[in-house]
């Protein structure tokens, strides 16, 4: 049901390696370019963050595992550009294209500061009445899956599927990634932070009293 990116709780990944504090420097020149090209291309507005996340998730598992972080970004960017009709497969293969004037929605240098400072708020007005409030017990969907598109994008991790937790925060209505990733509209829904006892997720908590909290959309939940 799930994809390779859904790795919460997985065994076998080894140690986490801390790094110096402060602003994170780029290790390679191409990492810098990978980040800047991805953000600049995203600025055209031809895809949402949900669609771009899904593009990374649909990399073949063997590619997802062997690609470094920015290689995933670059692979997904190439796939998104072709999917959006902005670049052709022939152009990718040739590595060149006929010169063209600036695209009408090109992110221009003088607009960068404003665009980055504004961001893209994901709250929306919505008609749905909030079904839950802090303190309510809820059960998550089982299995974790996109019910609109088989194999589609969802933000319910497998480790938290079919589990009972407690609503701790109401975030208001947010764009539903399961729909938006697939260009099915934003379909905003109430979003909640739901806390689960670690013991209920893993069978045994590392320490009693530990919890894991996830942000979950109303349609992922039922009363418990």
């Amino acid at each position: 049901m799930t994809r390779v990116h859904d790795m919460g709780g997985r065994y076998g990944d080894g140690a986490v390696v801390p790094e110096p504090q402060g602003i994170v420097p780029f290790v390679e020149e191409w990492h810098r370019k990978a980040l800047a090209l991805t953000l600049a291309s995203g600025g055209i507005g031809a895809w949402s963050i949900d669609t771009s996340r899904h593009a990374r998730e649909t990399l073949a598992p063997k590619d997802y595992a062997r690609f470094s972080y920015y290689e995933k970004w670059i692979a997904a960017l190439a796939d998104l550009l072709v999917d959006a009709g902005l670049v052709t497969r022939a152009e990718l293969e040739a590595g060149t294209a006929a010169p063209a004037p600036a695209h009408e929605r090109q992110l221009r240098a003088d607009a960068v500061a404003g665009v980055l400072a504004r961001g893209s708020p994901y709250t929306r007005p919505c008609d749905a009445t909030p079904a839950y409030a802090p303190g309510d017990r809820v059960r998550t969907r089982l299995p974790a899956r996109n019910v609109l598109v088989p194999g589609g994008h969802t933000r319910l991790p497998a480790y938290a599927a079919g589990r009972v937790g407690t609503v701790v925060l109401s975030h208001g209505c947010h764009v539903l990634p399961d729909a938006n990733a697939h260009r099915l509209g934003e379909q905003p829904e109430p979003l909640y932070a739901v806390a689960f006892a670690a013991a209920d997720l893993w069978g045994e908590a590392e320490s009693p009293g530990d919890t894991v909290t996830l942000d979950l959309w109303q349609s992922y939940l039922e009363p418990a």
Binding site: G9, D13, L37, V112, T213, D215
Partner: protein, 204 residues
């Protein structure tokens, strides 16, 4: 619409990642899809301007100003906005405060969601499979790899960032900092302490 066919377009690019990026840059620039000067402006933002010093400002203010702390805990997006901290990947911020009873720790198991306007670009470890896989299941073992040992009885609350809400951990104010001003306090607030893989250190 998932593309599960074996002929992903990205496979048409050269295999060397540096050449792959170069090819995309050439194509996107030639086609007028990307303004080369915009690339420099984006990098200037995240290499020089936006980083954990901004989150540290917010934490130091919260430690110094009880009314700001209250606003930060009630509506963090608005509160950090007062300090001019806004933007991409920080559109909806929730601040969670460490206490003697609860230690908060943030992860994104599904990708690499991170509060960019407060902390900048995430470090490699935050995006690593090891952190994503393990932070939710064995947070104390992960903390030990950062040199952090929690006191007995302090519970861990892990926040898995599955939506567009971004979490900022407010670390506990170290003892012996009563006389310090906000600038001196901010210097004690590391990036990792605002993710929850570190604690704020007492002044040396």
């Amino acid at each position: 619409m998932p593309h599960d066919d074996s002929d992903h377009p990205h496979a048409l690019l050269p295999s060397d990642p540096a050449l792959r990026v170069k090819a995309l840059e050439t194509l996107l620039t030639a086609k007028g899809l990307v303004d080369p000067a915009a690339l420099d402006a984006i990098l200037d933002t995240y290499e020089r301007k936006v980083g954990p010093h901004l989150g540290a400002q917010a934490v130091a203010r919260a430690w110094s100003d009880p009314a700001f702390r209250e606003r930060l805990l009630t509506d963090a997006t608005a509160a950090i906005g007062e300090l001019g901290i806004t933007g991409r990947q920080g559109e909806h911020v929730v601040a969670v405060e460490n206490t003697p009873e609860t230690h908060n720790m943030v992860v994104c198991t599904l990708c690499s969601c991170y509060p960019w306007p407060l902390l900048g670009i995430p470090p490699a470890w935050y995006k690593s499979d090891a952190y994503r896989a393990r932070a939710v299941r064995e947070p104390r073992k992960v903390l030990a790899e950062f040199g952090v040992t929690l006191p007995e009885g302090q519970a861990v609350r892990v926040w898995d960032s599955t939506a567009e809400v971004r979490y900022l951990v407010i670390p506990m104010r170290p003892e012996g900092t009563e006389g310090l001003d906000e600038t001196a306090l901010a210097a004690l607030v590391s990036r990792d302490s605002m993710i929850g893989t570190g604690v704020a250190e007492a002044p040396k």
